[in-house]
């Protein structure tokens, strides 16, 4: 994992970045929102946020940099998917799709889990990989997340999930649906352990995943402009036979309707999460020396 996610400041070869965002030589990137062409290195300095405010999609390896350098230890790396339904259709062969996606991403499935620190604070983390069948949740995704959640409960550390997803993975059928129950089941342990779950919803975040662990987090943070919803826009437009407003199902729309706690620009994420972790740390760890003295007072009186 370490060599896969090696950082090389000043050098950038992007074999697999979205081709339509690329201008020759990989030196310049065109913003899909405003069309502005920006020097790649400058864009990286801006955490891939365009001057217009558009937050470009980050890879899993890029998201890992939200945590302390070199602190990440991957878990359950060898847990791999099974073609339980033996899903083969005229247009689709799941086993083959898995092999191709695994070869392209170097991951067994769409969720990366493990432990890390954020400004020294231990956390369990789970980051979905949009490039792996749309970040969809099947058996491995659900199992890795459930284990990460149980470990967070056992270790007494917060769980941080970063989610971009199209929802449950169709190719694993009802087993994918049941991962919604599995992940929420595990979250009951985290809750009993009085540990925090912070969910970061990034573009896009939909369907069965939004309708399970992502929506029951203690704190929900959304990235500006991220598309977030249960039913897809296309489905709703077909049902009502009219175009939906551009603002529909954006992070800002969800904030307005009370479905997320905050819409936080990328540059403020780390400080926001750090503060939230600090505010939810066990009381003993929060006391400053003078506070501790005040609390000891009643003991001396007794």
């Amino acid at each position: 994992m370490k060599e896969l996610f090696r950082r090389t400041p000043g050098r950038f070869t992007s074999a697999r970045r979205d081709a339509d965002q690329q201008i020759p030589e990989n030196l310049w990137t065109k913003c899909p929102a405003c069309g502005e062409i920006t020097y790649v290195r400058q864009l990286n300095d801006q955490l891939k946020v365009c001057k217009c405010g558009h937050h470009m999609r980050l890879s899993v390896a890029e998201w890992l940099q939200l945590f302390d350098r070199e602190s990440f230890v991957e878990e359950d790396r060898d847990l791999a998917p099974v073609d339980a339904l033996q899903f083969v259709s005229a247009k689709d062969n799941y086993a083959q799709k898995l092999r191709e996606t695994q070869a392209a991403t170097g991951m067994n499935d769409a969720l990366l889990t493990g432990r890390a620190t954020l400004d020294g604070a231990a956390v369990q983390l789970a980051i979905s990989n949009w490039e792996f069948i749309g970040g969809s949740m099947g058996s491995v995704f659900g199992e890795r997340l459930a284990r990460a959640t149980e470990r967070a409960a056992e270790r007494g550390v917060p769980l941080i999930t970063i989610t971009a997803t199209g929802g449950a993975r169709q190719h694993e059928g009802v087993l994918s649906l049941m991962q919604m129950a599995k992940t929420n089941m595990a979250l009951t342990r985290l809750s009993a352990a009085r540990q925090l779950h912070i969910a970061l919803l990034v573009d896009p975040c939909y369907a069965g995943v939004l309708a399970s662990y992502a929506s029951v987090a203690d704190v929900i943070i959304a990235e500006p402009g991220a598309r977030i919803g249960f039913a897809g826009r296309r489905v709703i437009e077909q049902t009502i036979r009219q175009k939906l407003p551009a603002s529909f199902q954006t992070a800002e729309f969800l904030l307005e309707h009370g479905m997320v706690d905050m819409v936080t620009p990328r540059g403020e994420l780390r400080a926001t999460i750090r503060r939230l972790i600090g505010l939810h740390a066990p009381a003993a760890a929060q006391l400053s020396p003078s506070d501790a003295g005040v609390l000891r007072e009643p003991l001396r009186l007794s």
Binding site: V140, L175, G208, I236, G267
Partner: protein, 285 residues
């Protein structure tokens, strides 16, 4: 018999308009049913019915998706597709049941949760997610029965259970066959093919470790002899509620946890080696 029917045939039977619906099953299983209305937040959703009733002398909470038997009633019931207020009415009943120690009996019969602008605005995903979470830890027994079609999170939102029963010709899947075909192949007309590959029938779910038991239907389907289907279902529900009611709640919760933790299939092997990808350095501060 059922072996001669394709998955798509069973989808048609599961959706048959003359099949009994949730209110019929409640009346067949229970006495003294009192229906509750409203989520106390926004409104009352006719696509979800909920209330309390007596089952074998024991009070239970009953909750189910409600389809109509004709177009007029189906429009009123939104074809059994609940809006967030429907799920939140169910949530009220879960909490009510826990407070009074009533077992929960659910009937699943929906193509999926309502996909509309209004449901999105009111938090359809949150409503479903919250129900799943609450059912996961609910300190009373839960028996859920698929009586027609079980479609997606809209079904699971009243379907996390100690026992999941399915009538013989019913289906339960991650999405309706039409939705799966649309998602995978951008062509909902290929629903019959999706139904076949998705393994959505009751025997499939028993095989996959999701369903716990199958309730026999009259040959050809419940619509051909509704009384027989209702009687079989009532007997099965009574049996499972009685069995679960004797289990200490902490034992039951541990079993429920283990059951859902075990669902899914994985294997162990390392991911394939890949050429290291250069990752630009990002400074989050």
């Amino acid at each position: 018999m059922s072996t001669e029917l394709t998955a798509w045939d069973k989808v048609q039977i599961a959706r048959h308009g003359r099949r009994p619906h949730t209110l019929d099953y409640i009346r067949a299983c229970c006495e003294e049913f009192v229906e509750f209305h409203g989520d106390r937040r926004f409104g009352d959703d006719p696509a979800m019915v909920a209330g309390v009733a007596r089952l074998d002398g024991r009070t239970v909470a009953v909750i189910g998706h409600q389809k109509g038997s004709d177009t007029r009633e189906n429009l009123r019931r939104n074809f059994g597709m609940p809006r967030p207020e429907g799920y939140r009415k169910a949530l009220r009943l879960f909490r009510h049941a826990e407070r009074f120690g009533f077992p929960v009996v659910c009937f699943i019969d929906t193509p999926g949760a309502d996909p509309s602008m209004q449901s999105e605005e009111r938090g359809q995903a949150e409503a479903i997610a919250e129900n799943i979470l609450v059912m996961a830890g609910l300190r009373v027994p839960i028996v859920a029965t698929v009586i027609g079609e079980g479609g997606s999170g809209g079904a699971l939102a009243i379907g996390v259970a100690d026992r999941l029963l399915m009538l013989e010709y019913t289906t339960y899947s991650v999405a309706s066959p039409e939705a799966t075909a649309a998602i995978l192949w951008h062509d909902s007309a290929r629903a019959p093919e999706a139904a076949q590959v998705m393994r959505i029938t009751a025997p499939d779910l028993l095989d996959l470790g999701v369903a716990d038991a199958i309730i026999a239907e009259p040959e050809g389907g419940a619509h051909l002899d509704p009384t027989a289907a209702l009687l079989n279902t009532a007997a099965a529900v009574r049996h499972h509620v009685a069995e679960l009611a004797g289990v200490p709640i902490d034992v039951l919760l541990a079993r429920r946890y283990a059951k859902y933790r075990a669902i899914g299939q994985t294997q162990q092997h390392p991911p394939p080696p890949v050429e290291p990808r250069e990752v630009p350095a990002l400074s989050f501060g």
